[in-house]
């Protein structure tokens, strides 16, 4: 987590399902019932920063206020889809900061298999990103949908690849500046 990095701050605000293990008086505001209590067993989506804070007890194995679940974006269904064909999944629709969210989740849950699936996804999609970025005519056909579905990390990757390729074409005289 980087203090001044806006993407890091936005990742912190992404939600994940939390289940309250204890009854908490007066915290109903989280459910949209100000003044009410929160009952044990209540399941609410909370922002990462809050869920993480409330679950600290759970991770230390002492009293646990809430337990965390995998967010929908990293559910088994999504992992299976990524294993089948990473290129067709719209990551942006799942979470705008899909990979940043994954990093944070992987710090909380020990999921080595998920690391492998995500690494493989990232590599395969990166190759596709490079192909589009080096295409001087811009996105065409299926490419448009694929590029729309890039998460924030991937968009930055696309930009890096695209800018350098363009600069290269300008230097070699294949394209004009601006």
């Amino acid at each position: 987590m980087s203090y001044y990095d806006i993407d890091s701050v936005l990742t912190d605000a992404q939600k994940l399902p939390c289940t309250f293990e204890l009854e908490v008086p007066g915290l109903g505001v989280l459910e949209g019932n100000p003044g009410e209590d929160i009952k044990a067993g209540t399941r609410i989506d909370l922002p990462l920063w809050l869920g993480e804070m409330l679950s600290i007890g759970a991770r230390l194995g002492t009293s646990r206020l809430v337990t965390l679940d995998m967010p929908e974006a990293l559910s088994e269904r999504v992992m299976n889809a990524l294993k089948a064909d990473p290129r067709t999944v719209d990551l942006r629709a799942l979470a705008p900061h899909f990979y940043s969210l994954s990093e944070r989740i992987l710090e909380l849950f020990e999921e080595e298999d998920m690391v492998d699936v995500l690494s493989d996804t990232f590599k395969k999609r990166a190759s596709e990103i490079a192909d589009h970025a080096h295409n001087s005519r811009g996105a065409v056909g299926d490419g448009v949908d694929f590029l729309r579905g890039l998460d924030e990390t991937e968009r930055q990757l696309f930009r890096a690849a695209h800018d350098r390729a363009k600069e290269m074409r300008i230097w070699s005289g294949e394209a004009k500046r601006k």
Binding site: M1, S2, Y3, Y4
Partner: protein, 269 residues
């Protein structure tokens, strides 16, 4: 060789052989590429930069002298004496401009890193301070009811060793951060509660002081016979990963080859 040349070569002083000019130029170029390649500020090569700056100053004088002699080319004797004057001038000026470009790009790159991670470098320098005052300063200040953001800018006035910065850079970064903190204080932080006005806060497990990422990868060429890549960047860590061989080019983490770079056995591309 005529008498002017002999005098000129004496003026250059001891050790200013042509080989060392070329070598310094190569070192400067290599250092510039490296500085552009990594996210941290590299140790300032003070003696090298002094020699290069001296030569730049002398070269500017040489060019001015030569240019003023072209002012009286009206006389035919001068024109025949100096048939290539304009060509020589344009070569010298191009050479000068190229060197100045490297120096300027190098300095601007360093300033960009310094301003991006200003608190990181100030905290790093202040931790070496021998003055007991500046070390206890932060505690005494948290009690200060008039605490302002400027007060959390570390005092580096008693620090002798400003590496990796140059003297000028260390005073720049301190002045810069003080101005910035003053601006934050004046425009919004001043109206925060006293305890929220620091710029080096650690609350919530996220430090406000952000340093460069040394785990980023670089493109490196192995110049020594064999160079092992270290697993971690921490001092004293001896665990070794892959080994690069002479002439190899690798994509590796900067922290894994930093020490080999310091020894001159690796260059960054």
């Amino acid at each position: 060789m005529d008498i002017d040349d002999i005098l000129a070569s004496v003026d250059r002083g001891a050790g200013a052989s042509p080989e060392s000019t070329a070598l310094d130029h190569q070192q400067l170029t290599r250092f510039w590429v490296a500085e552009r390649a990594v996210s941290e500020v590299l140790p300032w090569p003070a003696p090298l930069m002094e020699r290069v700056m001296d030569r730049v100053r002398m070269q500017i004088e040489t060019i001015e002298d030569l240019a003023s002699s072209s002012g009286d080319t009206g006389t035919p004797t001068n024109a025949t004496h100096n048939p290539n004057l304009n060509l020589r001038l344009s070569i010298l000026q191009t050479d000068l401009a190229r060197t100045q470009y490297i120096i300027r790009s190098l300095l601007r790159q360093r300033l960009a890193k310094l301003t991006k991670h200003s608190m990181h470098y100030l905290v790093q320098l202040a931790s070496r301070s021998k003055s007991p005052f500046s070390q206890s300063q932060s505690q005494s200040q948290s009690q200060n009811p008039n605490m302002m953001p400027e007060d959390s800018v570390p005092d580096i006035s008693a620090v002798d060793n400003v590496s990796p910065l140059s003297e000028q850079e260390s005073s720049f970064v301190h002045a810069h951060q003080t101005l910035l903190a003053g601006h934050y204080g004046g425009s919004f932080m001043g109206s925060f509660p006293r305890t929220l006005r620091r710029l080096d806060d650690n609350a919530g497990g996220t430090s406000m002081v952000q340093g460069p990422e040394t785990k980023e990868v670089v493109f490196a060429r192995c110049l020594g016979v064999e160079v092992p890549v270290f697993v971690g960047g921490e001092d004293g860590e001896e665990e070794v990963g892959v080994t690069m061989r002479m002439g190899d080019v690798w994509v590796v983490r900067w922290e894994g080859v930093r020490r080999a770079w310091e020894r001159g056995e690796v260059e960054l591309l």
